[in-house]
């Protein structure tokens, strides 16, 4: 543990006073600037960065652009879809997280012109910038699944927990019915990059556990539909999951990507290397393909030769800086880096962007590097999880080596997910973790 004087004061007597006095001292050392910074998207990444920049910079004009008034704590959706938390658990007001000295334009960005350094909103407002941070997250392309519509969620055995808190709750209704009645359960994932690749696994594990506890394990036929020939992007984790699935009787079905559903007939069609395959289901969990928002794809900021169907921002994997426009950074889900679509990655990426942005304002070069850190408490049943952490090199990078074994199903990892994760996430939003 590294303690500086301020943290030490905060910990010992008179914590509150010391930490506040420390806060104002840090403010006094802030870099003076009149730079004009625009941040697109006020989700996990945009909020955390805005808070940190407002601490670090004195006099900067920081403008946030996002029409969404409600902030979503997305890692909580998995718990809502397993009946463990109410939908309200994941919802808070965007405003409550924002520093007082930033301007918030409550509209969506419609156009980015990186040549003339301007952003236009859907309401027609034009914002000029010296530095632009693209933190718009990603869009869930539900329309790409033929026959699927969000109205179906919760009925006829259809679940879609990514779609938001209300849908996660409806997903639980459909999943609960399946856990009681049994039948064939299909747990799908898209072939695109996706946020929290562990989430579809968690849902399969949790619904299996719930059916098992109700004494219905014999009635369910659980199938996990992998998009390729592996269950997870990190080989050692994939192998562990394969063993757990075998133990639990969850059948892996490789290289099956959901193409369409016929909700009336409860039949799904999958694209496979050998053509299309049909499968009947009693419950299906749909996670749609995920892509960068159109505003990003239309503005010429995406990679030209990678992820061309998905449009992630062409960013340097180590610095998150745009490769062609050095005054533009990408952070969070929208960034075109090989890993890192989790809130935990946001926590690692934001200080890197902060470092390079503040250095650029001061006329220098930043030194911080993002190593691809991504983490996911992979729930394997109610009460146990594996704390999976890895980097660009598919290395496991455990935070507590020798104490919390990454590939072991542990109670402590579950405690972290249920008690500590949201608090850590919120502290991150405030720029404090």
């Amino acid at each position: 543990m590294n303690l500086d004087r301020r943290q030490f004061l905060a910990l010992t007597g008179g914590g509150l006073i010391a930490s506040q006095a420390g806060g104002s001292a840090a403010k006094a050392q802030a870099v003076k600037t009149s730079a004009n910074i625009v941040i697109l998207g006020v989700g996990a990444a945009g909020t955390a960065l805005a808070n940190r920049l407002s601490e670090r910079l004195d006099g900067a004009r920081i403008t946030l652009v996002d029409a969404r008034k409600e902030h979503l704590y997305q890692p909580g959706l998995s718990l809502v879809a397993a009946g463990l938390k109410p939908p309200g658990y994941v919802v808070s007001q965007t405003k409550q997280w924002l520093p007082s000295d930033v301007a918030w334009v409550e509209e969506r960005a419609a156009q980015i012109d990186p040549e003339s350094k301007k952003v236009t909103t859907e309401g027609g407002t034009t914002l000029e910038y010296d530095y632009l941070v693209v933190a718009t997250g990603l869009v869930l392309d539900h329309d790409a699944i033929e026959g699927f519509s969000l109205d179906l969620v919760g009925t006829d055995g259809v679940g879609a927990l990514y779609a938001g808190p209300q849908y996660a709750e409806k997903t639980w209704r459909a999943a609960q019915a399946f856990s009681e009645k049994g039948g064939v359960g299909l747990f799908t994932r898209p072939a695109t990059e996706m946020k929290c690749a562990g989430a579809p696994l968690k849902h399969a594990f949790l619904i299996d556990d719930i059916a098992r506890r109700a004494g219905n394990a014999g009635k369910t036929d659980m199938r996990y539909m992998a998009n390729n020939n592996s269950l997870f992007g990190v080989p050692i984790v994939a192998e562990k999951v394969r063993m757990l699935f075998q133990h639990r009787g969850i059948a892996p079905v490789y290289s099956h990507v959901l193409k369409s559903i016929d909700p009336g007939a409860r039949r799904a069609v999958f694209d496979t290397p050998d053509g299309q395959a049909e499968m009947d289901y009693d419950y299906i969990h749909v996670i749609p393909p995920q892509r960068a928002p159109d505003v990003v794809r239309n503005s010429g900021l995406s990679w030209a030769d990678k992820w061309t169907d998905q449009g992630w921002v062409e960013a340097d994997a180590k610095t998150m800086r745009h490769l062609r426009y050095p005054e533009i950074f990408a952070v969070g889900d929208v960034a075109g880096v090989p890993k890192g679509k989790t809130a935990a990655s946001v926590k690692w990426q934001v200080p890197v962007v902060e470092d390079h942005l503040v250095a650029a304002i001061g006329g220098g070069e930043g030194t911080a590097v993002y190593n691809g850190y991504t983490s996911c408490p992979l729930i394997t049943r109610i009460g146990r999880a594996m704390l999976i952490e890895f980097d660009y090199g598919n290395n496991l990078v455990p935070s507590f080596p020798g104490v919390i074994a990454p590939l072991e199903e542990l109670w402590i990892s579950w405690l972290m997910k249920e008690i500590a994760l949201k608090a850590t996430y919120n502290a991150m939003l405030r720029g404090r973790a």
Binding site: M1, G383, A405, E408, L410, E418, A420, A423
Partner: protein
């Protein structure tokens, strides 16, 4: 964890309980400890009768602490999966036991001034 510094830990605890409640709890814990030290100094000795009662309360504190953590986290004894889990459960139990013992001892001392017959 990126920086598991005390600053981060405090930020996380503040988020868990709310700033007000967290610091109120810290204050209460500090006050109880102070009161404990105070009664020790005032009575110039440990009262063994009070200490005995405090010791008897320890298992209750231990069990309550473990059950409380399980209750707020949808989990149970069957979820203990590795040595670290057993250790964590033990730590929670020990913290509950110590907290309970100090509380019971201090409350007794504050309520009834110790009489000389209790002195060893």
């Amino acid at each position: 964890m990126k920086e598991l510094s005390f600053g981060t830990l405090i930020a996380v605890f503040e988020e868990m309980m709310g700033r007000g409640l967290f610091w109120a709890l810290v204050a209460v814990a500090a006050l109880i400890t102070l009161a404990y030290v105070y009664v020790l100094i005032r009575d110039r000795a440990v009262s063994w009768r009070k200490f005995l009662l405090a010791q008897l309360s320890m298992p209750v504190g231990a069990i309550l602490a473990v059950l409380f953590v399980q209750y707020i986290t949808h989990s149970g004894f069957r979820d203990v999966g590795g040595p670290v889990d057993a250790i964590i459960m033990l730590v929670i139990a020990i913290l509950g036991a110590i907290g309970m013992a100090i509380l019971v001892y201090t409350v007794q001392s504050l309520m009834r001034h110790s009489s000389s017959s209790e002195m060893p």
